[in-house]
Symmetry: C2
């Protein structure tokens, strides 16, 4: 009796433990939240000792960083897919609005993961170079979309300015929504939210608004 391991001997070496840990971690991240995500719980769920995980991730922070990296890659892909699927070459504002929508829907579909991607203070591994790279590439994708929609070269100052504005807005909106801090009805669709916010910008910056002091055309 007292065979220490409840598992059959055939599974001492799991083989794909790393992938399975990541998958379980990602799932558990969304269910229990980042704070309660523990290596012990993940390992236990996979029927494996907790320490086994430390042979695939140097520590908890590294696990979280890899999850976040994966998130940025998925976000980038979502932006790519969405943009080339829609094809709104004519209306640059509509095209940008559509990118914002894809962004918001990614965040809503993976709220905890999204939060992790932008909350390094929770405990990410800053020395993970793949993380920084993935994040920059995702931002680069947004810049590409903006550059294309504005018909400007990627390096232009206009594109950098618009990218900062767009990323700030998209990230802010997504963040407010997944934290349920917006004062709008809970069930409001992502389309409506983005539409509402864009209309708000129209009021402030658009020609329908009150003229500012320096007006270029009149």
């Amino acid at each position: 009796m007292t065979k220490p391991s409840a598992r059959k001997r055939t599974s001492y070496h799991v083989g794909n433990l790393s992938e399975r840990l990541m998958a379980e971690a990602r799932s558990m991240l969304e269910t229990v939240g980042p704070a309660k995500l523990s290596i012990r719980a993940i390992s236990e769920k996979l029927g494996v000792s907790a320490t086994a995980a430390y042979h695939h991730f140097s520590n908890r922070a590294a696990l979280l960083s890899r999850l976040a990296t994966l998130g940025f890659r998925e976000l980038q892909q979502a932006l790519i897919d969405n943009d080339q699927q829609i094809e709104l070459q004519g209306d640059h504002r509509k095209r940008l609005q559509n990118a914002s929508l894809a962004y918001l829907e990614f965040a809503r579909a993976n709220p905890a993961l999204y939060q992790l991607m932008f909350g390094p203070e929770i405990g990410l591994d800053a020395s993970d170079e793949g993380f920084e790279k993935a994040r920059l590439e995702a931002f680069g994708e947004l810049q590409k979309i903006i550059a294309a929609s504005l018909n400007e070269p990627l390096e232009s100052r206009t594109v950098r300015q618009a990218s900062l504005a767009a990323w700030s807005h998209s990230h802010g909106l997504a963040s407010l929504v997944i934290h349920k801090v917006v004062g709008f009805p809970e069930g409001m669709s992502s389309e409506r939210l983005v539409e509402t916010s864009f209309q708000g910008f129209e009021h402030v910056f658009g020609r329908s608004g009150v003229p500012s002091l320096r007006v270029s055309d009149d």
Copy 2:
């Protein structure tokens, strides 16, 4: 010796323990980060048993919630002070830009606290009604500024739309900056950051190709 307590007997009852715990928690929050903020460490620093804190806060989440509540009240006050100090009744865009600046500077001055305010998943107490109230009031302040600058009634749809847009943008920009994810030079001033972002919106929403008023490289 072996007096269990190193403190003089006169200080069994601290008296203002609750305030001192909050102050120490806030300080420690910025130094060690929200994840590493422990009740034990806070209490120890005050020369008090860890359990003493539990007589003032039902649990760790309640402590964090009260910190966040305090943060929203300070943010609201910062918006008020800034707006009535500046007085830019004429240019509504400039006025909004100034509110964004105050917002960003608050976040930069209290990065960990700011993160806590918008990261309930880290472990806030959702049942804390003061927290929700403070947050709504801070948002209400922003709405008031926008309503005044747009010369619209507070309940108008325009104001709600512009408020969602403005809060999303301000929060997103602040969040990106304090997490150091913006691709701009680290030391960039808050003024420049807000200015840059607003120019970006001009490019997207403004009338055809508004030239930037300030000529400076970014």
